[in-house]
Subunit: 426 residues, 2 copies
């Protein structure tokens, strides 16, 4: 068999059952795909070259600030707001419409309690008070003069993916199931610098953060985390924050549930204990099967989702595909993502797209030859601490049936013979 | 001297003259800044806490796609279009308004020859023809089914920074001098896969790329580069391309002058030689002092610019600051950025912000204690090939006075006693 033939997908050795191929397949230089016979695109042999109508007339002029194509109107946040109080609710990042790891600012998910305050940055102030030697008040222009850091990291609502607790598998596109998670490059002032300037007293163990929205949303953060890697963010993906993401100032607490990354930040009060706010008692506290309650469950554990194929993103007949998805962990870097195409009996390691950063979305990809038979796809993330994303049964055994937050079980997609994809519990 | 006192900026050892400090200063945990005495922000001691007006009324509702705050109207692309033909010209990324390394899609620089075509993606096609075994025509939906890669990389016009060739130093904000460069996460199909499917003939040495704009902009690309790392990009920073950045399909040729990254890509014709288009003969070809001409000077050499302080971003009196800027190289990763605060006599190494990626913007930062005296700041990038960004005199000696493209000399900012910053040739 010639080298060329050996490289044709039909002749490649499997990496696991169900048609999973070696993750390096699409990375090799000079690989032959057998003149397209097995690839899933549908080009046609062509030599005609009629210029399209938009080549026959001058185009549109320059713009100061660009917007998406009018043909991409489906790539929007899906809003699930309280009809009686339209500023209370959530909007979802359409992860099924996106690629790579960066979420564009216009599509970052939202969780608001009383709408988006329209803040004049010249009048906004941040107060550092409570158990500090020097209570301080900062204007936005003051903070803009401080040393900054940038980091690409995810922000994920503690309630993301909670449809996974439902008795029946929810049937929606990926973004409306897992899209209370987004990933941006945040730039701002390390909170440690500001706390050092204010002088935390030795008995200050918690910070109570409060936003300048009409709900005065507040939450408690352990001082250790605040000093470790929390950031007073002023910029998102290069530009200043958007109003719905906390303009002009939000806290970013990397890897922890997003309720701690308080938007429109106006106060940080140092205290000996947590304030026991609504969002750490009535919410984000859950009864376990043992009768004990989980509280202050800050870290978002490792999770992964296959974004292609997925519900609504169907297969167009048997052939060679690339499985693609996202993985992340609040504990650090993603170390490995494994994919199964036989419901979990055999697993193949996916390729991780550079860069692989701590507390950041990581894009994974794996070549796959689908033979047209029904099967179940799963992905499983492992992070650098060795934590392995659990199966749903294991998560429920540990956490019981009262769960609402921190759902991170392995997700299963059932692929039917007609190429349609649905959510299944396996 | 106590540890706390030793850590106060006044007592820190210099890293170079002119007040440059060790790059790790702001990275250390538990560092004291002397209760703010030396820091440049202007917080005030405060305990008052009057809720602002926007906390007293419900905020704005959710939106399907977000936009910047109305208070950030200065963070826009600056348009320099031909008044007689408004679709011919450029618009600049306001680098002086941005932080981190990602350029938001709405602010990516533009270079158009005949405006922005309004393309219906369902009617757009890519033709692969010329010296290939199988001429092929792809629709956008065909390409969306192919294996993809993502990469964060810069796109820089070959004419960026060309005001540096002027006899007198241009006095503009950084973005209107160096802002024909932007950095995004691009996702698309490796061109090598498509070329393999079409079957390049052995005598195919160049590809002629053509856009679907009314200018039918075209350019020639060596086959080696096309097979190495060129991408048929469909996504930019997660979402589908914007119209002004090539929607629905653009070529990305990492690290090479942006004229090769053809927008609205409609044709790739394999040929034995370059097509000798306007943009590789009348433009992008330059006479050297020797009488020979430079042509096909594809790679964008290493460059760095200090974005703070910079013209229009002044200092507010003596004190401790963070110098911040961007560096990049078309040859690979940035290895080192050095900063001088004494016009080039002594240099200190800046901290490079993670991630440091090949052919990508790299953010650098360095702590600096300005004593209020006038001085000249410079930055100098070194890439992983060992290439060192040249002084202006060296660049002119090599390239002569006919230069227009590929200006990458060290940039000098003169800081005056009043804290104002101007461009100088040193």
């Amino acid at each position: 068999m010639s080298d060329k033939k050996a490289n044709e997908p039909e002749n490649l050795p499997p990496a696991a059952d169900g048609g999973l191929l070696d993750r390096r397949l699409f990375l090799k230089k000079g690989l032959s795909f057998g003149a397209g016979a097995a690839l899933v695109g549908r080009p046609f042999r062509a030599s005609a070259d009629e210029p399209p109508p938009w080549m026959k007339t001058p185009g549109e002029p320059f713009t100061n600030y660009g917007v998406p194509s009018p043909h991409e109107k489906e790539a929007i946040r899906w809003i699930s707001a309280n009809s009686a109080a339209p500023g209370n609710g959530i909007s979802w990042t359409p992860l099924h419409k996106l690629e790579g790891i960066v979420t564009p600012n216009g599509l970052h998910f939202e969780r608001h309690h009383n709408g988006v305050p329209q803040i004049d940055p010249h009048r906004h102030r941040l107060l550092i008070h409570g158990l500090v030697e020097n209570p301080l008040s900062f204007g936005v222009n003051d903070l803009l003069r401080y040393p900054m850091v940038s980091r690409l990291c995810f922000v994920e609502c503690g309630g993301n993916s909670n449809a996974g607790w439902h008795e029946e598998p929810i049937q929606t596109p990926v973004g409306y199931f897992h899209g209370l998670a987004s990933c941006s490059e945040w730039t701002g002032v390390p909170l440690a610098i500001i706390l050092d300037e204010a002088g935390l007293r030795p008995d200050a163990r918690w910070l109570v953060a409060e936003g300048a929205d009409a709900a005065a949303m507040n939450i408690s953060i352990p001082v250790e985390k605040a000093l470790d890697d929390a950031v007073l963010a002023l910029y998102q993906n290069g530009e200043r924050l958007r109003p719905e993401n906390g303009y002009p100032l939000r806290l970013i607490v990397p890897g922890w549930e997003a309720v701690l990354s308080v938007k429109w930040l106006r106060r940080l009060q140092a205290a000996t204990g947590p304030v026991m706010a609504r969002n750490e008692t009535a919410k984000y506290t859950e009864l376990l099967p043992s009768g004990k309650a989980r509280q202050f469950t800050f870290v978002m554990e490792a999770k992964s989702i296959i974004t292609f194929p997925s519900p609504g993103r169907h297969l167009h007949g048997p052939g060679l595909y690339q499985i693609s998805g996202l993985a992340w962990s609040g504990r650090g870097r993603i170390k490995r993502v494994e994919i199964s195409a036989d419901g979990g009996r055999s697993w193949a390691e996916a390729a991780l797209q550079d860069p692989v950063l701590p507390q950041c979305f990581t894009r994974f990809r794996l070549p796959w030859r689908w033979n047209g038979a029904p099967l179940v796809l799963k992905s499983r993330a492992v992070d650098e601490t060795g934590y392995v994303q659990p199966e749903r049964e294991a998560l429920i055994a540990e956490r019981g049936r009262h769960g609402y937050f921190h759902y991170n079980a392995i997700v299963c997609w059932a692929v039917a013979a007609d190429g349609s994809v649905s959510h299944t519990y396996g």
